[in-house]
């Protein structure tokens, strides 16, 4: 009993060490890339923001029409109200206050609070939809490569059709039909976005399939399940991590684009939704469109930096 | 032991490389490389790929540059042509004299005129040395038109002649072939034809026999021999294979760790190697006459270019290493008129 435990611990430790070595090796290689480090730092910041930010900011749903369209700190705008009796305007100058550092929107909601809760939504969408797409793509890619023959043929022809399908149109169609709810948007993006992953995983697995350790495993009579899950998938993990990191910005942008054309979930204030509302009042309250846009841009940039760094780190060809 | 002693003495009599600068055969020297140093400045440190190489190439002779891979042979060749990628590479000092010019100081325009026209090079892997998306003909014609005032038709005719001369069958068709449509030997010949297209005075061959099999290797060596005989040009032949050196070379320069450790006529190198490294290389030659079970090899590995051992770079592998070897660079000494060696054994 104790012997078994010891064995397990040794194995675990061994596993931990060998993997930590690998992880620290990749970290070292990623870290060397300054941009990737910045990207990672921003993403960590964003995740923290999304997790604990809402506890520190005002209530993003709290409306206050007396304080609507307040500019960010340091800016001043003019606001006026029409007097129906006299036909004159009562105009006042409004300056940004530290109570609402990023200003307020046309309902008087705190922009900072909305940006923070928008981070939650956008990250959520990005992670879940990418997760779905990656899992689907990996399964299809690995199975296609492993089984080959007609399975591969059918799956790849299907992938071809999906790839040829105008992606954004398909997205718009699906969301329009099933209604703009966040779940459907995530599902739609996830269910249509797996094709690239499938292709890449398939070709990676194809080359793995002929490698010695897989051949050995098969020669030793390992079951299909075992070969796929113990040998193929773990070996495409690094590829998958890179694809995932580089897919997340695309997904976040897709959701924002959908929101932008009026197919976002109106009950969940994602950055796209805020931006969409903002573009109608560009002239009165430019910050409502500018702020979520900047966040969107920085987030996508961060993921691209990180993804690129990871790709370089995992790619043995780029060793210098 | 005796021989060593003899050479030691000889070195005392004629110290320093300046001795053969005023050699009577100077008119015969077409290319003179003097104390060439080409370094690569990488993020991890300075790689001294070529670290003080000197040699002469005489008219009509075949000079072999010999040494293990990574010893700086190819970099030397590229330095001559000014083809070092910069950054990270740079020729930090030395002269390369050709035709009254110091190639190191030449403008890129002057260099371009010399390249392919006066000095041509044949790379080792014809497969990757030919541009895969251009036809063989185009690639030869391009070079001819560059250096000769010929129109396309004339250039093409010349290219056809050259290919035919190289013994390539159905030349007209081959002209329109892309590299991947040719066999390995044909590619190598096409490459040689290309390099010869402007009648260069010097042909540098960078391991042209490495990537091909034995029969083709023999054919190619024959080709080079014929060339040398027919065209009166100087051949700088780079190889790691002493057998090839023995077969084709007139003189040889043995390089180790970016330095020329021994220079001598080939017959002398083979029969009377001075440097322990050269001796080791020769010992490694498979000798058909002796039936041994295993091939001999020099113990140890080539040094890390970033961490060159101090003193003589070879000392960690040298079975005759002395205390001084790890401290001081050995001077170059002449053991006989044409035989120079850098080793403390003869200092």
């Amino acid at each position: 009993m104790i012997k078994g435990l010891e064995d397990t611990i040794i194995k675990l430790r061994h596993f931990w060490h060998s993997n930590m070595r690998l992880v620290s090796y990749y970290w070292e290689r990623t870290h060397r890339n300054r941009l990737a480090t910045c990207g990672l730092a921003f993403i960590v910041f964003l995740v923290l923001l999304a997790l604990i930010g809402p506890f520190l900011t005002l209530d993003p749903t709290e409306v206050n029409f007396e304080e609507k369209n307040l500019p960010p700190v340091g800016f001043t705008v003019e606001q006026s109200v029409y007097n129906i009796e006299t036909g004159e305007f009562i105009t006042k100058k409004v300056a940004g206050t530290w109570k609402h550092p990023l200003g307020t929107d046309s309902k008087g909601r705190d922009m900072l609070a909305m940006i923070v809760s928008g981070a939650r939504v956008s990250l959520f969408v990005g992670l879940i939809a990418t997760g779905i797409a990656i899992i689907l793509g990996t399964i299809i890619g690995v199975l296609s490569a492993y089984f080959g023959g007609w399975v591969d043929n059918v799956m790849m022809r299907f992938t071809d059709i999906m790839m040829t399908f105008p992606f954004f149109l398909l997205l718009v169609l699906i969301v329009f039909i099933f209604g703009p709810s966040l779940i459907f948007i995530i599902l739609a993006i996830g269910l249509t976005g797996w094709t690239g992953t499938a292709r890449m995983v398939r070709s990676e697995s194809l080359s793995l399939r002929t490698r010695e350790f897989v051949l050995a495993a098969r020669a030793l009579g390992a079951s299909d399940n075992r070969v796929v899950f113990r040998h193929l998938i773990p070996n495409v993990i690094s590829l998958i991590i890179v694809i995932a990191t580089l897919s997340i910005p695309g997904v976040i942008l897709a959701e924002a684009a959908l929101s932008f054309i009026g197919l976002g979930d109106p009950t969940v204030p994602s950055w796209g939704i805020i931006l969409e509302a903002g573009q109608h009042s560009l002239d009165t309250a430019w910050w409502v469109a500018v702020e979520p846009g900047i966040m969107l841009f920085l987030t996508v940039l961060a993921f691209n930096f990180l993804g690129d760094g990871l790709r370089d780190a995992f790619d043995p060809k780029s060793q210098i | 032991m005796n021989a060593t002693h003899h050479h030691q003495r000889a070195a005392e009599q004629s110290p320093g490389p300046s001795h053969f600068a005023g050699n009577v055969e100077m008119d015969n020297v077409v290319l003179k490389v003097n104390n060439l140093k080409t370094y690569f400045f990488t993020r991890r440190g300075v790689v001294r790929a070529v670290d003080g190489v000197s040699f002469d190439l005489k008219k009509g002779e075949c000079l072999c540059l010999d040494g293990e891979s990574g010893c700086g042979k190819t970099v030397t060749a590229l330095s001559i042509l000014g083809l070092i990628d910069s950054p990270p590479g740079r020729i930090v000092c030395g002269q390369i004299n050709y035709d009254g010019l110091d190639l190191v100081q030449c403008s890129s325009r002057q260099l371009r005129k010399i390249r392919g026209n006066d000095i041509a090079i044949v790379f080792q892997e014809a497969q990757s040395a030919l541009n895969p998306v251009l036809t063989v003909g185009d690639q030869i014609i391009e070079q001819i038109k560059l250096h000769r005032p010929l129109n396309y038709k004339e250039a093409r005719r010349r290219a056809v002649e050259l290919l035919a001369e190289m013994g390539i069958p159905s030349v007209e068709r081959v002209m329109n072939y892309y590299p991947h449509q040719l066999s390995g030997g044909m590619k190598q010949r096409a490459l040689i034809a290309m390099s010869l297209s402007c009648d260069p005075k010097i042909l540098i061959a960078d391991e042209p026999t490495t990537a091909v099999d034995v029969t083709i290797k023999a054919q190619i060596l024959d080709t080079f021999r014929e060339l040398k005989a027919k065209r009166q040009m100087s051949l700088l032949f780079i190889t790691h294979d002493l057998a090839v050196v023995a077969e084709i070379g007139d003189r040889a320069v043995v390089m180790y760790g970016g330095k020329d450790v021994e220079t001598a006529p080939v017959s002398e190198i083979i029969s009377n190697p001075k440097h322990p490294y050269t001796a080791g290389l020769i010992a490694c030659l498979p000798d058909v006459s002796k039936a041994t079970d295993k091939l001999a090899s020099i113990p140890g590995t080539t040094p890390d270019p970033l961490e060159m051992p101090p003193g003589c770079a070879f000392h960690p592998r040298c079975d005759r290493a002395m205390a001084i070897c790890s401290q001081q660079q050995p001077p170059r000494v002449a053991v006989s008129g044409e035989h120079k060696v850098s080793c403390h054994l003869y200092g």
């Binding site: 059709i161 149109l169 718009v172 039909i177 684009a257 054309i261 430019w286 930096f305 | 990757s128 541009n131």
Partner: protein, 325 residues
């Protein structure tokens, strides 16, 4: 020698393309038709206001457009008509679908063409420069800028460009003016902001692709060979390296061309009010106007398939090593 297999290949690919197009057409048709909304939706409120029996009138309107029949029947009908060259009647714009497309394709086309040219030309130039000057300040700057370019949401960029250049500075109109003659300086000026909007992402991507494709080839031996021939650097880079780097680039650029038809171009058209096919089909989705949606999707798909085929054929000329068997 080359011709025979290429012809077989093209025939095979065409056949295959038809199948894919048919598949996509069918899926789109079903998607548009299974939705819960109906073309009669826009009558809903107003009908009731006139005291009408809503259901009856809606049924009548659905009958008017033939959407009350079983979906299978509508499908076979539509397919038969399509096969005969009849693309149907767009009931949300009241004109034949084919006329609609004839009138509006040019707006999408000029936007996509100009953006692609702009992006490809500038992107390739910068990419080459960046690769040749690898690890210099210029290279780092361009690499960084290209990251920014691919990360900036293009619809947001469009909105910001309008805000800055049209609203604040008044340099451009806030919308695309369709009355301008197609081949005129004014039209070109009107397309500046949309082209930047659509082209920036592509440009950045092309810079990155070009740079890495060039770097892949810059260190190859044949480049040294070319230099050793005495060729000037301009020809070494432009002819020898670039010809080889062009292979992956062509695929990516042409593939992008296909995908932007329905991605960025869509949003750009909406932001700038360009009445191109994207805008038209987008409105048609909301109006349940399935003949338009299906037709535009079909055209988009055919363009993509055609472009893919053309890419493959171009490839055989760019890279003599390629053979499709």
């Amino acid at each position: 020698m080359r011709k025979s297999w290429l012809r077989d290949y093209i025939i095979r690919r065409l056949f295959y393309s038809i199948i894919i197009a048919w598949g996509i057409l069918t899926v789109t048709f079903i998607l548009v038709r299974v939705g819960p909304s109906s073309p009669a939706d826009r009558y809903l409120a107003n009908l009731a206001a006139s005291g009408q029996d809503v259901t009856q009138v809606i049924a009548a309107i659905e009958a008017r457009y033939g959407v009350d029949r079983p979906i299978w029947e509508q499908y076979t009908d539509y397919m038969t008509n399509l096969f005969r060259g009849n693309w149907g009647w767009s009931f949300s714009t009241s004109m034949p679908v084919i006329e609609l497309i004839k009138k509006h394709w040019i707006y999408s086309f000029q936007l996509i063409l100009l953006s692609s040219l702009f992006a490809a030309f500038l992107g390739i130039l910068i990419g080459i420069y960046s690769a040749v000057k690898q690890y210099t300040k210029a290279d780092y700057t361009f690499t960084f800028l290209s990251f920014i370019g691919i990360s900036i949401p293009n619809f947001w960029l469009g909105v910001m460009l309008i805000l800055i250049f049209s609203v604040k500075l008044g340099l451009f109109k806030t919308y695309y003016d369709t009355t301008l003659p197609l081949f005129s300086i004014e039209n070109l000026k009107a397309l500046v902001l949309p082209v930047i909007t659509l082209g920036t992402g592509m440009l950045a991507a092309y810079v990155r692709y070009t740079r890495s494709a060039m770097l892949d080839n810059l260190r190859k031996v044949f480049v040294t060979t070319a230099r050793a021939k005495g060729l000037p650097e301009r020809i070494v880079i432009g002819k020898h390296v670039f010809r080889n780097a062009l292979l992956p680039l062509v695929t990516i650029i042409l593939f992008d061309l296909g995908s932007i038809v329905f991605g960025g171009a869509y949003l750009t058209e909406i932001v700038f009010g360009i009445p191109g096919l994207g805008q038209i089909s987008f409105k048609a989705i909301f109006a349940n106007d399935y003949p338009v949606v299906v037709a535009v999707t079909l055209i988009g798909t055919l363009v993509v398939l055609l472009v893919n085929l053309v890419t493959d054929i171009i490839y055989t000329y760019l890279d003599p090593r390629i053979r499709y068997d």
